[in-house]
Amino acid sequence: MSYAFFPGCMIPLRLPYMENAARKALGALEVELLEMPNASCCGDPIAFQSLSKETWTAVAARNLCIAEEMGRDLLTLCSGCYETLKTANVKLKGDQRLREHVNKALAEVGREFKGTIEVRNLLEVLQEVGADKIKTRIVKPLKDLGVAAHYGCHLVRPSDVLSFDDPMKPTTLDQFIELTGAESVSYLKKMLCCGAGLRMVDAEKSLKLVEMKLGYVEAAGADCMAVLCPYCMVQYDLTQRTIKREGGANPQMPVLYYAEMLCLAMGMSPKELGLRLHRTSLEPVLKKLGLNA
């Protein structure tokens, strides 16, 4: 299996440890990742979609073109990119008029959308690899680790376009979490948005959403949170201190990227994964797993 690899901006430019874990995990499962020359930001589902759907689609289409030229399906790590790229891909494949319109713009940069590839997220690729194969690679199951799965919005919604999992009660991530030997803890407001989309206009209020969510996760007695999207990661991992500083609660909820969990279960060391780069200490988790950072 090999994919055109689209890490997005947030992951490579701010959270390289996520990219690192994803590459290592997929590498261990013999999934080949091909760099996409000249790829840009996906098109940004929040800022750009809001400013101009047209530009948004065009920029997304450009990235799709690059993957088409490589003749590979596109794998993106970021859920935001997933919504952007998949929406563009589905819409452009389905809507002849839109396609011609966008291709006119693309012509100016000497590209054309042909609609020859699919857009995939990390879990879809892991599904393709297959649970059985992954099981065989698990050497250090994350025993009695209570994990609160946070799906994030753009992985499953809008479902009529993304058609990945149920938009209100998805289960894929939970299954993958249990695949690592950990237990997926059910908690209130599982699908509550991380609030990243609110950050640009009202950072303070978006923190309120983080605080809420972390509250439910703690109440459920989870050891940590598992996320898939860099924006959720930023919201949950980077802001916990800020919340405390601004006189809110004092949350200390470790936040892991699912790929990191998978790597740990496959026996990789916290060091090679660069877990130290997390802002909220993973100490408790690692201790429970009998690992040292």
Partner: protein, 810 residues
């Protein structure tokens, strides 16, 4: 059929209908002009033709002027045709020699601002009627014998009442029930609204009456497989599933169940409690006969021993399914409904969270003979919840599930809330609702009572439910619409109120009965207002939830209504069928030479037989008179009486005598599109007076030649219309019409006639607005093209049309 040779003597009577017609149409003038038409010997106008003096006038003229055709130009034939038919009949004239011109709904009412053109149009309509009248021939009504026995499908509260009423009237009734016992959903309920009496206490006696009634033969654990025949003469095949218990041997002692080692969930208790592999679904079951669930039986034969000990041998493991043939005159369908499966609304977590229940599950819990002997508990801890939240509109009023309002959910939710209050005075009970609908007698009072009892009502549609992993309580997210604030509501138990949906297998049943279903899958009544009980197929009637969600009082009254509709047919021993049926001209039928049988494939009722070498033959009693066969017969050998080719062509010619390019010939089906045209009139919607309407029973009758002929005669436009697909009153007539007419859109342009001059439209009797806009569009097209262009096109096309019409019309 009576032959009639003498020269037509037509009387024309133009009705003013007070000012309804006269205010727009110049009736005197029209009558004057009509007098000049060929074969018209009398032409008068009068204020109210339908009033006695008007009718007297007609009768007198028939006698004195020896009229043998009568035309009344007044309202819609759907309104007064029967009146005037009776009138001429009483004067000794065959009723089918009467013809009507609709100059009110189709003219005066919808063209108030076109007085002059309207008057022209009125005259045209009379011309057309007169032209048709010349070709009318007297018809004898067909009489068919009626078997004085009825089949009732479904043993719920509606079916039970229908069966009892019919039986009391002295008719033999076969009651077929799919499950081992009659009683239906009502038997599962604890109490009923709006008076809170015990459900089984009022239903039980009725069930027993069914069991003991000498005129009722109860076929439980059986299903209707096939239905052949027609009104008065249905032949029904019923498959009786094996109980593996000989009904007349079993005395219902229940020893077998006592010794049976196998416990499986009891469907009757909504799978909250258990039953044995040999069982009766509930203590009051009728018939009180045991049934072995072979899916669960481990064949230990303990039951056999136990039965022997009772000195009986009621068990028979070799029983096979048996087919039973029934001959009945009428059929009452009371197949009921199912509850929507709430697990499909993922956000509410039914099936995922322990303490989310459905209303019917609550009914079983709170019922003294239910799995918990009447105590309401939670799955998670078996404790009685201190707070309960009801959620309404689950699976209804939602485009993702069902858009319709299920109607009775609001009421049963109120009832369930009151029951809880009765059992648990200090329970916190909340009803979450969007709109609360309590429209019938005593219902709003019932709602008041619920508020009196301190039940809290929260307006808003819950969006998500999550389970608190520690307490197994449920947290409901919603907006409190009264305050406009989002809120999380915690409840120890949630009760969902699912909508009613068509019962499983109703699709197959509909097919077996050849009755149509509406968009939501419920059975389709013949007319939403005036024939709510009848199906489109004569002799078959609906009652209860099979036709749409209903509560008990409504279902019961429909049950009785269906009984009387059915009795109305059976009481007479014979039934008259409108003789507007098809007949085959054996001379022309090519089935005698080559193997053809097209008609047999087109007839929706299997009323035509075409044995090899013989001419096709129509079973008059089976024929519903849609005329599809007549239109599709490759050798024009089939004619539909009263809608013959000659008659329709005469109408076309008459309509296009003058200024054909300015006119639109509209073929409308009696049930939907003509209904819409009438409705446009009665609603006083105005549209341009260019259309000349020709009414046929079904769009299936509309021959391709009719369209071609219209263009050949220079028509500006032609419109072919009928019911929306799935709504055809003759099951499939409109599909055949489409197959036939569609190709013309590619053919006509080749002749030089622009495609936009032909319209093929499907709309329901309710869509008056659609009809009006359609007319506006068409008149606009006429104006756009302009008379000249149309003339040119027609000239160019004529030779081709001549050729085509010659070929088909041999």
């Amino acid at each position: 059929m009576i032959e009639m040779s003498e020269e037509p003597r037509i009387g024309v009577y133009v009705c003013h209908c007070g000012l309804n017609i006269a205010a727009v149409v110049n009736c005197e003038k029209v009558a004057g002009e009509a007098a000049k038409l060929p074969n018209v010997v009398v032409s008068k106008d009068y204020r109210y033709m339908c009033a006695d003096p008007g009718q007297e006038m007609i009768k007198q003229d028939i006698k004195e002027q020896k009229l043998n055709r009568v035309i009344v130009a007044s309202c819609s034939p759907r309104m007064h045709e029967p009146t005037f038919r009776k009138c001429v009949e009483s004067a000794g004239l065959n009723p089918f020699l009467f013809e009507m011109a609709n100059i009110r709904e189709l003219c005066s009412w919808c063209h108030p601002h076109y007085a002059e053109k309207a008057t022209e149009k009125a005259l045209d309509l009379i011309k057309m009627a007169a032209a048709k009248a010349r070709y009318l021939s007297p018809l004898e009504v067909v009489k068919v014998p009626v078997t004085r026995a009825a089949l009732v499908i479904g043993g719920g509260v509606a079916g039970i009442h229908s069966a009892l009423d019919l039986a009391d009237m002295g008719f033999k009734v076969y009651l077929v029930e799919r499950t081992p016992s009659i009683g239906g959903k009502m038997a599962q309920l604890d109490k009923t609204f709006p008076t809170l009496d015990c459900s089984i206490c009022i239903l039980g006696p009725k069930m027993v009456d069914v069991a003991h009634h000498p005129n009722i033969e109860l076929l439980s654990y059986a299903e209707v497989k096939r239905v052949e025949g027609y009104i008065g003469n249905f032949r029904v095949t019923v498959a009786k599933k094996p109980r593996y218990v000989i009904e007349k041997e079993c005395n219902g002692c229940g020893e077998c169940a006592n010794v049976c080692p196998v416990e499986v969930p009891n469907e009757f208790d909504e799978n909250l409690g258990f039953r044995k592999a040999i069982y009766v679904p509930f203590p009051q079951a009728v018939p009180m006969k045991y049934t072995i669930d072979l899916e669960a039986c481990i064949e230990c034969y303990k039951c056999v021993e136990a039965c022997k000990e009772q000195g009986r041998e009621a068990l028979n493991f070799d029983m096979k399914e048996q087919e039973i043939q029934l001959d009945v005159g009428t059929i009452v369908v009371a197949a009921g409904y199912d509850l929507y499966d709430p697990s499909k609304v993922k956000a509410y977590g039914y099936g995922l969270y322990d303490n989310v229940f459905t209303a019917l599950e609550l009914e079983r819990m709170i019922n003294a003979s239910g799995p918990t002997q009447g105590s309401v508990i939670r799955f998670s801890d078996r404790k009685t919840p201190r707070s309960v939240a009801f959620i309404t509109c689950v699976g209804s009023r939602d485009e993702k599930t069902n858009i319709y309002c299920s109607g009775f959910c609001c009421m049963y939710t109120l009832k369930n809330a009151l029951l809880l209050r009765e059992h648990y005075p200090d329970m916190e009970i909340r009803i979450l609702f969007m709109d609360l609908r309590a429209p019938f007698k005593g219902y709003e009072e019932f709602y008041r009572r619920a508020r009196e009892e301190g039940i809290q009502f929260l307006r808003g549609r819950p969006t998500e439910i999550y389970e608190d992993p520690k307490t197994s309580n449920l947290v409901i997210s919603m907006e409190n619409l009264s305050t406009g604030e989002p809120m999380d509501l915690e409840a120890e138990t949630v009760i969902l109120s699912p909508a009613a949906v068509p019962s499983a297998g109703s699709e197959e049943l509909a097919r077996a009965l050849t009755v149509s279903r509406d968009a939501s899958g419920f059975f389709m009544e013949a007319h939403p207002k005036l024939k709510p009980i009848d199906s489109a197929t004569d002799g078959i009637f609906f009652c209860g939830a099979v036709q749409g969600p209903k509560d008990i009082p409504y279902s019961v009254s429909q049950g009785s209504a269906a009984a009387s509709r059915a009795a109305r047919i059976m009481i007479r021993g014979e039934w008259e069928i409108e003789p507007i049926v098809a007949f085959v001209d054996a001379e022309k039928c090519r089935n005698t030479k080559v193997k053809c049988g097209v008609c047999t494939t087109k007839c929706p009722y299997g009323a035509i037989a075409a044995d090899e070498g013989k001419a096709a033959l129509v079973n008059t009693a089976k024929c519903h008179g849609c005329g599809t066969c007549a239109a599709d017969c490759p050798s024009n050998a089939i004619t539909q009486r009263h809608f013959t080719d000659a008659q329709v062509l005469a109408q076309i010619h008459a309509a296009l005598e003058e200024k054909p390019e300015e006119k639109i010939i509209g073929f409308l089906c009696n049930w939907c599109s003509y209904g819409a045209a009438d409705l446009a009139g009665t609603s006083r919607f105005e549209y341009p007076p260019d259309i000349r309407v020709i009414r046929v029973m079904c769009s299936g009758r509309i021959d391709r030649d009719f369209v071609l002929e219209a263009f050949r005669k220079g028509a500006g436009m032609v419109m072919v219309s009928g019911c929306r697909f799935g709504d055809c009153h003759y099951i499939s007539g409109n599909y055949n019409a489409e197959k036939r007419i569609k190709p013309l859109f590619t053919v006509l342009p080749r002749f030089g006639i622009s495609a936009e001059r032909l319209r093929l439209e499907w709309f329901s009797a309710a869509e008056a607005g659609f009809y009006v806009n359609l007319n506006k569009e068409m008149s606009e097209t006429l104006r756009k093209l302009g008379i000249e262009r149309i003339r040119v096109e027609n000239e160019k096309a004529r030779p081709f049309l001549d050729k085509m019409l010659q070929q088909s019309g041999d």
